[in-house]
């Protein structure tokens, strides 16, 4: 726990410098998953292994970054009435691109992530940041915001994926983590395990918050 407190302190000191603030807040203080509880579906669905979780997190972060950049660039050109429609268009475009890119990297990975790549479109984190931040801020700030939120999201997904894979599969990034006849807790990679693991991480966050 003392380790935990130190971390909070470390992050807190970083937050004092304004330029890093936009970045750091998404990692910890406003973590989209653990604090804001946004975009839960991919968090639960594709966090059954560390690899999937990381890939999904990075894909989401990429879309977030690109759409934040574009939205922020165009923020003075897009009329208010068609704002949301154009954001959706932009996001869908980047998601389609990511979808093909991942297919081009590995068919297996694409199969594992399934439809959830496409579902990044409706992840409210992305639309939310576009609407709440990028449409009002400069490109630089929006980039930092997107990176912070994106990495915060990836970090959270990774936390879930790591726990679920280690316990549920006895491995970490596909590499065996335990002696040979370790008994896997299959429940962890089942849907119920997703709920339980997320609940556990939230519990830890709550406890840390109450302490700090």
């Amino acid at each position: 726990m003392s380790n935990q407190t130190k971390h909070t302190g470390f992050f807190a000191s970083l937050e004092n410098s304004p330029s890093t603030n936009e970045f750091i807040k998404g990692l910890w203080r406003e973590n989209p998953v653990f604090v804001q509880v946004l975009g839960m579906c991919p968090v639960l669905a594709v966090s059954n292994t560390a690899e999937n979780a990381l890939a999904m997190g990075l894909a989401t972060a990429f879309v977030l970054l690109m759409s934040n950049i574009l939205v922020s660039t165009l923020r003075n050109f897009i009329p208010k009435q068609v704002r949301i429609a154009s954001y959706i268009l932009i996001i869908a475009t980047f998601v389609t691109m990511v979808d093909y890119l991942i297919q081009a990297i590995s068919v297996d990975l694409h199969k594992a992530l399934g439809a959830f790549i496409s579902l990044i479109v409706v992840n409210c984190l992305i639309l939310g940041r576009a609407e709440a931040f990028a449409s009002k801020n400069t490109i630089g700030k929006s980039m930092l915001d997107a990176l912070g939120m994106g990495f915060g999201f990836t970090f959270a997904l990774f936390c879930l994926g790591a726990v679920r894979e280690i316990l549920g599969n006895g491995s970490f990034f596909g590499i065996p983590f335990f002696p040979e006849n370790f008994q896997e807790w299959v429940v962890m990679i089942l849907p119920a395990g997703g709920f339980f693991t997320l609940a556990m991480w939230l519990l830890i966050f709550n406890a840390a918050k109450n302490k700090g």
Binding site: M40, A92, V121, V122, C124, L190, A192, L198, L203
Partner: protein, 194 residues
């Protein structure tokens, strides 16, 4: 593809592979709108309705995209067409049945860009369902979503009057209940496969 009877499609989408509890689709409304039974059942109705509309749209668009050979437009066209169709239907309902609109109205805009809706459209396309199969699939997915939401709401209303330890209160408790519900739904595994 094996022959899947319509009945099986329905059971599969609603119970065996429940959208919320097995596929993790629509988790946000599941966590957010399951506090009260009344809102939960209305939300369920609204989602089912939008699912059917979305499913029909997706069937049409898919046929069109196959015809013009432009698979890369799938996602973008699904989302745009579903969103605008729901908007149109919403306006239509507002005109035709103000009562129904009042019941579903506030939920409709929230749902349009919900991942359960888009997920349904994508899955039915992946599975290669025909028109009737898609319709039944949407009906089953909606029923399953409603069931999960309504069960959760009942439990949460009961838990409003329980001495839940402070640290567990809120989202954590909801997630734990969802986990146990998800375990319970595993009892339906393989239903219809025998």
């Amino acid at each position: 593809m094996t022959e899947e009877s319509l009945w099986y499609i329905f059971i599969n989408a609603s119970l065996v592979n429940n959208f919320v509890l097995a596929y993790f689709l629509g988790i946000c409304p599941f966590l957010g709108v399951s506090g009260k039974m009344e809102t939960a059942s209305k939300m369920g109705g609204a989602v089912t309705f939008v699912m059917i509309v979305a499913s029909m749209c997706a069937y049409g668009i898919h046929a069109l995209l196959v015809a013009v050979n432009a698979p890369f437009l799938q996602l973008i066209s699904y989302i745009v067409v579903i969103a605008s169709t729901v908007q149109l239907v919403e306006m239509f309902i507002k005109k035709m049945s103000p009562a129904l609109f009042r019941a579903l109205g506030i939920f409709l805009p929230l749902i349009t860009t919900n991942c359960a809706i888009l997920g349904l459209a994508l899955f039915q396309t992946n599975k290669g369902y025909g028109f009737f199969e898609s319709f039944v699939y949407a009906l089953g997915a909606g029923a399953g979503f409603t069931l999960a939401l309504v069960l959760m709401a009942g439990l949460r209303e009961k838990l409003d009057f329980a001495e839940v330890p402070g640290i567990v209160k809120g989202t954590v408790l909801t997630l734990l209940v969802a986990g146990i519900l998800s375990l319970s739904f595993m009892g339906f595994a393989g239903l219809g496969s025998q």
